[in-house]
Amino acid sequence: MHEFSIIENILTIVEEISEKEGLTSVSKVTLLIGKMRQIVPDTMSFAFEAAAKGTIADSAVLEMEFVPIKIHCNECGNEFIVKNHTYVCEQCGSTDLSVLEGQELIIKNIEGER
């Protein structure tokens, strides 16, 4: 459900940037989505299609690139990628960890015509 609210934010940013860059149409929007985010790609695409109607991104394609969850262990300094939501250091077993990557929700780039 929150995908709709995220899409609204995306369209606002896309419109701001299109205006600034003088775009007349947008053909593609690429997102970076961290794997910690509970984003359902199909729901995102559906929400984008519905909400983009009548906007500058009317016929744009939404592309999603997923970013793995990268962790730094505060105990032993090990860095690793989280699998199966297991936030335990593979090297020393500590759960005192910092998340380095995997929380992203970013517009990476926009493609369009001037």
């Binding site: 929150h2 910690m36 929700l105």
Partner: protein
């Protein structure tokens, strides 16, 4: 042509949340964001918590509800400031409505603000509302698989309340598996087991709130 953007999509919400966090810190107010499924016992938890703390602390409540004022009405008996946010169908609260709600309180005379988010384990976990801590509330009747199914909330929460433990013998809830799934998701999580309806086992949670408030007020 391709334009490189690299802009955070939820920037607008995050900026407001950061403003709220700063403002609450200056006012020495502790705000906690209570998140759980419909029926987990969020409002009952608030009732029992307010009953225990209202003599010592000035408490205010922000009630997030999709359409009704039923939860807010349940808390009116305590004669504390309550702001109701009806989200009109939206599945979570965002920081802009929290900022407007906080403006209704006299924060100089407030110690703790409880935000009861919309009943949902997914969406509220995605949106920072400027709280100091997210509190995950789950009841044994929902099953022990919830942390695994909704990892973001249990990863982001600072404390977790397992409610309705008096009913555990009537369910298939596996406490060992539940604890293990929480350990691998969030080793630093504070965990409390209770029955809010019977008003049993709340001591640890109340102590956590008192200590956390003392930290905030420093």
């Amino acid at each position: 042509m391709e334009i490189k953007v690299m802009k955070n999509i939820l920037n607008a919400n995050q900026n407001k949340a950061d403003e709220i966090k700063q403002h609450l810190k200056e006012k020495k107010v502790l705000m906690v964001n209570i998140i759980g499924s419909p029926g987990a016992g969020k409002t009952t938890l608030l009732e029992k918590t307010i009953e225990s703390l209202k003599e010592t602390y000035s408490i205010a409540v922000i009630e997030g509800d999709v359409a009704t004022d039923r939860d807010a009405r349940r808390l009116q008996k305590y004669d504390i400031p309550i702001v109701l946010i009806n989200t009109d169908g939206a599945c979570h609260l965002e920081s802009i409505s929290i900022q407007n709600a906080l403006a209704e309180f006299d924060l100089d005379k407030t110690d703790i603000v409880f935000v009861e988010n919309v009943g949902n384990l997914v969406c509220p976990a995605e949106f920072d509302i400027g709280e100091f801590a997210k509190i995950a509330v789950i009841s044994v009747t929902e099953g022990d698989d919830k942390p695994e199914k909704y990892p973001l909330l249990f990863r982001e929460a600072k404390a977790m309340i397992l409610n309705k433990v008096d009913l555990i013998e009537y369910t298939d809830f596996n406490k060992t598996e539940f604890d293990e799934s929480l350990r691998i998701l969030n080793g630093g999580l504070s965990k409390f087991e209770m029955s809010c309806r019977k008003n049993e086992g709340l001591e640890g949670w109340l102590d956590w709130l008192k200590n956390t408030h003392a930290e905030t007020a420093k």
